[in-house]
């Protein structure tokens, strides 16, 4: 864990898997004087500050640029302040006891339905790219001028696989979460 005086890195185990746990953990760290500042690579960036009592909540919504102010304002009106966003993930903080951001089950189910849909598409695209690269490599291997093409394809396939595996894992985790909620 990288630690400096002012900022600190907190690794994430994946919001699809441990959303509630990590939101609680962020609240605990805020009490200890480490406030969430932004998303970081596979984790969060925290900044040293006055200890605060805060609840954290995650929303998943693809918000268009023109809609952003409206979206953020709606949360602010009920006491939830936007802390940071990354893609369609948005983390809000509020004083403890503020009404939850989702007040009914059906809209909360839709939050995960959106996530499942998105990760399904990502998994399929990267999965197909992986298959394509390895498939082409298989044919290239049997061709005449094999080495370079087959090597490039093999690397390409491995690269795609590096994206596919976490994408499929995230998709599965969101799907399990959704099924449990429904």
């Amino acid at each position: 864990m990288k630690k400096s005086k002012e900022t600190r890195y907190l690794p994430s185990w994946g919001l699809a898997l441990v959303e509630e746990k990590e939101m609680k953990q962020l609240g605990q760290l805020a009490r200890e004087g480490w406030l969430l500042e932004s998303f970081a690579f596979l984790g969060y960036k925290l900044r040293k500050a006055e200890p605060q009592e805060l609840d954290y909540a995650l929303d998943i919504h693809a918000v268009l640029a023109g809609e952003r102010a409206d979206y953020v304002e709606m949360f602010a009106a009920s006491g939830w302040k936007l802390v940071c966003s990354q893609g369609d993930l948005h983390i809000f903080s509020a004083a403890p006891g503020t009404q939850p951001i989702y007040s009914d089950k059906s809209t909360m189910v839709e939050k995960y339905r959106r996530a499942v849909k998105r990760w399904k598409r990502l998994s399929l695209v990267s999965g197909l790219a992986t298959l394509l690269a390895f498939g082409l490599q298989y044919f290239a291997k049997n061709g005449a001028d094999q080495t370079i093409i087959s090597m490039v394809l093999s690397n390409l396939g491995q690269l795609c696989l590096v994206f596919t595996v976490p994408a499929v894992m995230t998709y599965t985790a969101f799907l399990v979460r959704l099924k449990r909620l429904e």
Partner: protein
């Protein structure tokens, strides 16, 4: 959200993520229409004909349901008093 709470005398409170989801859904379904943006932060919507008829038929359906429930309860009460007599 405050207005909803006031309107329902605190019986219905709505979280912002729920409200945002519902507004998007109602907009997609053509039940409401974005009419103006006084500024970027405050959007106003108006209900469409389609939206109004859906709400009205839902209100009617639910008050009919409440009526049926009431009737069922009354008939149980009547049966009870008949038995007692």
């Amino acid at each position: 959200m405050k207005y909803i709470e006031e309107l329902t005398e605190g019986e219905v409170t709505m979280g912002p993520a729920t409200l945002y989801t519902l507004i998007k859904k109602m907009q997609e379904a053509g039940f409401i229409l974005l009419v103006g943006e006084e500024d970027e932060r405050r959007k106003t919507y108006s209900i469409t004909e389609k939206g109004r008829s859906v709400v009205m038929s839902e209100i009617e359906r639910r008050s009919r349901m409440a009526g049926h429930g009431l009737k069922a309860l009354q008939s149980v009460e009547e049966a009870k008093t008949d038995e007692e007599e």
